[in-house]
Amino acid sequence: MSIDEQIKERIAGLHGHRLFYLPPSMPGDPCPRELYVSKEVWEAVNEPWADNWMGQRHKAFRAVLDSFTRGDWLSISENPDNKEPHTTVARVRPVEDEIWDIRCPAPEAMIRCFGAFGGFDLFVCLTWQYREDLNTNEDWCNEIERCKSEWHRLFDPIERFRGASLDEYLSNYWPA
């Protein structure tokens, strides 16, 4: 069985208690891409946040995740050492770990969501963090380790999906 099939099999087993399918908020939006989120991310985008600065940030975060599932054209960077600072999807160091983040760089959000591709147009969001809490190299390493640990907890021993080129990860992308 291919890696993406193994990942799908595991998603089906975890769905509803540890992983949740996240369709776009707008009722009529299409969803050609699939996003599965951990309970941590689910709560970050679905909690009834108060209508304050924090609530606005989390709604903005949800808008970017919805853009992914809606099939919007997105900028993506596979090389963490040579990327546009505000690209929407980016692979983080070290690239061989295949951890990516969906970035909400707008001043209204400044949230990073970490996870891995589970196949073509299918992403698993496992952890998230406010950008201002990712200051030092150590902060980044800790967050990436946290994401990897979460993957192991949910998917072990299945490896993360690894595409030969960006064409195998995503439709409608622009390499930034």
């Binding site: 919805d66 054209w73 622009w174």
Partner: protein
């Protein structure tokens, strides 16, 4: 501080203040959609960034930043970009996405099939296990419909 809870999106009601978080969702959504439109047109144009930079008389790094980031573009910049890419102009149409029928609240077919298959398997194998599996499956549908 307002304690209005941002449980979902809804259309404006009377003279009730629209939650800022909902306005923010729609702002970011529009920014993402405009960015998507620009990237789609640019990809279809076959232009290089250098070509586009030359057409618009801008440094290539500015063009790169506009393409890479869903920025809060000025209308004049948007007009320049779209005309520079394809000789067109952005539409002035207004959409009503909250009036659209709920077409995206079902699970992807592959997942629905597997969950149905699992439930059928559990139902025919272990009544005790069946209860917990069904509960999980119900939760999943409930979440997907939230």
């Amino acid at each position: 501080m307002s304690t209005y809870l941002t449980t979902g999106l809804h259309k404006p009601i009377g003279n009730e203040k629209i939650p800022e978080s909902m306005l923010n969702y729609l702002r970011i959504r529009l920014r993402q959609r405009i960015h998507s439109m620009i990237l789609r047109e640019f990809a279809q144009s076959g232009l290089s960034q250098v070509d586009l930079a030359a057409r618009l008389g801008k440094p290539p790094r500015v063009i790169h930043r506009w393409l890479a980031s869903p920025e809060n573009l000025r209308l004049s910049t948007l007009s320049d970009l779209v005309f520079g890419i394809c000789g067109g102009e952005p539409s002035d149409a207004i959409e009503h996405p909250l009036d659209a029928p709920q077409t995206n609240r079902t699970l992807p077919p592959w997942l629905a099939d597997r969950l149905d298959g699992d439930r059928l398997h559990e139902r025919t194998s272990s009544p005790a296990k069946n209860a917990s599996t069904k509960a999980n499956a119900d939760v999943s549908y409930e979440f997907s419909a939230a």
